[in-house]
């Protein structure tokens, strides 16, 4: 294959990565934006989504489409429930202190990892794509499912944007983000907003996991890469800025896809981290973050 089509393939791969990454990172960014905490177990919620999708696909072995649809409902609900439980039993008790939350979510990360390792096993397990067709370009055929992943992610991003800007819950979230105490004084149930946001963030990661598993296979360590990439994205975009998160997700997703196709996925992650260093030198608060400090 000559350079042009090769680049086109890389850009396609990058776009799919970017959409899924935007979805995952948005969850992390939302939680940080509203609650001012970092969820280190975010990648594990992603992994749980993928693993639950595998269980759903074995439950309904006849039709991959039905299994996929079931996973899209079940995985976010179960992961959301786990997030609510975490919020209620741990985060609320440490009063959302940033450092304690980080230590607690690291603890959660290892507990979830070990749980999946014990129950699900150490091997990577494939899940069949719900639909199988190839989009044929003049130079190569491309998996149609990957394009569906990009489409579904885009609609979920739009839905999140709609929920944030047009619904009462979104209004509560933005109010809490801007000023926690004033919001409370105006009758916003801040604690419930916190719990909801934490669950929503986890659910976004879980959906991303469900979407990616037919492409990637389910494995108990698969949460690390999305966590690292999400971190890179939120730091480049500026902590707490949703717009920055989405923009940075596209920059990093595209470059990750392109470097992965031409060189190696590992090199892509190393370069992305160096890019973070460069951004921090120029703008310590990230591209769209608060740079007044």
């Amino acid at each position: 294959m000559s350079f042009g089509p090769h680049l086109f393939l890389a850009v396609l791969e990058g776009t799919v990565t970017a959409f899924v990454l935007a979805l995952t990172a948005l969850g992390l960014s939302l939680v940080f934006g509203v609650m001012r905490i970092v969820n280190v177990a975010h990648g594990e919620f992603f992994m749980l989504g993928a693993v639950l999708a595998w269980y759903c696909s074995t439950l309904i072995s006849g039709s991959p489409l039905l299994g996929f649809a079931l996973a899209l409902v079940v995985a976010p609900l179960l992961v959301g429930a786990l997030a609510l439980l975490t919020d209620w039993s741990v985060l609320k008790r440490v009063d959302y202190n940033p450092e304690s939350t980080i230590v607690a979510t690291i603890g959660l990360l290892y507990i979830v990892q070990q749980l999946v390792l014990t129950v699900f096993g150490p091997e990577a397990r494939p899940v069949a794509a719900p639909v199988y067709f190839r989009v044929s370009f003049p130079w190569f055929g491309y998996s149609g499912y990957k394009l569906i992943v990009a489409g579904l992610s885009a609609s979920l991003l739009l839905a999140t944007w709609y929920a944030l800007s047009r619904t009462r819950l979104g209004l509560y979230m933005r109010a809490t983000q801007q000023d926690y105490e004033i919001a409370q004084a105006f009758g916003v149930p801040v604690r419930n907003v916190y719990a909801t946001v934490f669950a929503l963030g986890a659910m976004l990661a879980a959906v991303a996991g469900v979407l990616i598993v037919p492409v990637q296979q389910a494995h108990y360590l698969m949460g690390l890469d999305p966590l690292l990439l999400s971190f890179i994205v939120v730091i480049i975009g500026g902590l707490g800025s949703l717009k920055g998160t989405v923009v940075a997700a596209f920059v990093i997703g595209l470059s990750d896809g392109i470097v992965s196709v031409f060189f190696s996925p590992t090199l892509a992650k190393i370069l992305a981290t160096l890019l973070v260093a460069a951004v921090l030198v120029v703008r310590p608060g990230g591209l769209f973050g608060d740079n007044r400090a």
Binding site: R36, V94, I102, I106, Q113, L117, T118, T273, L280, P284
Partner: protein
């Protein structure tokens, strides 16, 4: 600080170092090796504690400094036969230099951004080790036993795998780091670091260059972690990329929290307790990550001060 308190601190620390030297003559073989390993890992925790416990900067990427020391030492011995002391010195320099360069970038951020950035770079270092696999032999790891010349003492050659050499070398490295950390904690520099932890803004208002102090703490912390990594490579004769993984960034955090962050004795105590906790539970389950995760959750929820933190708060206010 009053002369009386200073003398008490000095006596206590020398007594602990002396006791650690003396126990080697009583320990059974199995625990003899374990304690040597704990001493090296505790050195890593001491480095971590300088940054986290005293300066209040939580790092989630300290494995990179440990690995920098380990690989600088291990690779130079493996390829160039520099010998153990030379390799160790290189390890300390590598840990300190990486921390110095990293600090210039990472310390531009504060609060949770710093945490994320440390974790990110730690992971990037891990991936770098894997990426240059042909040089680092990262994913398989390598051993050093055939590359190390024996120590010559009183005419007899003593290998680094000899239990007594191992224990005493580990003890030396630990003692160095332990006394340095106690010295810093008791010195005016230590007071400024604690002030930064308490309130950076006010410390700056008092005229201290807080960036310089944080950077100094990070450099020292990285150099000590590098020393621990280098010592580990020489004494336990294995170098592998797994020592750069996130788990090895979380361990020093866990050890320090358990023993008591911001206490000189905490890192040793936490490392020892955690080591034996995992060792004992591994008898009936191999799910040691449950122990790690569960301990972290339990510490945050019910015991945030750690052992020595509680001891200091209740009985011994004079502990540094």
């Amino acid at each position: 600080m009053s002369a009386g308190r200073l003398r008490r601190i000095l006596v206590l620390h020398l007594a602990i170092v002396g006791a650690l030297f003396a126990v080697q003559f009583f320990l059974p073989d199995y625990h003899h090796t374990n304690v040597a390993r704990i001493l090296v890992l505790a050195t890593f925790a001491i480095g971590y504690n300088l940054l986290f416990g005293y300066t209040g900067l939580m790092s989630l990427g300290h494995a990179m400094f440990f690995a920098a020391g380990m690989y600088a030492c291990g690779l130079c011995i493996y390829y160039f036969n520099v010998g153990a002391p030379g390799g160790f010195a290189l390890g300390v320099v590598a840990g300190g230099t990486l921390a110095a360069v990293f600090g210039l970038v990472a310390l531009r951020t504060s609060g949770v951004s710093f945490l994320i950035v440390t974790m990110m770079f730690g992971q990037a270092c891990y991936l770098t080790l894997l990426y240059f696999n042909e040089i680092t032999l990262g994913d398989q790891g390598f051993t050093l036993s055939s590359n190390l010349d024996a120590l010559h003492r009183a005419g007899a050659g003593l290998a680094y795998s000899d239990p007594d050499v191992k224990y005493n070398a580990a003890w030396l490295v630990f003692t160095g780091a332990f006394l340095v950390s106690a010295l810093i904690a008791a010195s005016p520099i230590g007071r400024v670091l604690i002030a930064v932890r308490g309130n950076e803004e006010r410390t700056r208002l008092l005229g201290y260059n807080t960036f310089a102090y944080k950077w100094l703490a990070l450099c020292l912390s990285g150099a000590i972690a590098g020393a621990a990594g280098a010592a580990y490579a020489v004494l336990f004769s294995y170098v592998g990329a797994s020592f750069a993984s996130i788990l090895y960034s979380i361990y020093p955090l866990l050890w320090t929290l358990l023993g008591g962050a911001g206490t000189t004795l905490g890192p040793l105590l936490g490392t020892g307790i955690m080591f034996y906790l995992i060792d004992i539970t591994s008898g009936w389950t191999n799910a040691y990550l449950f122990v790690v995760g569960g301990s972290l959750l339990a510490l945050v929820l019910w015991f945030p001060q750690g052992v020595m933190g509680a001891v200091r708060a209740r009985w011994a206010r004079w502990l540094p």
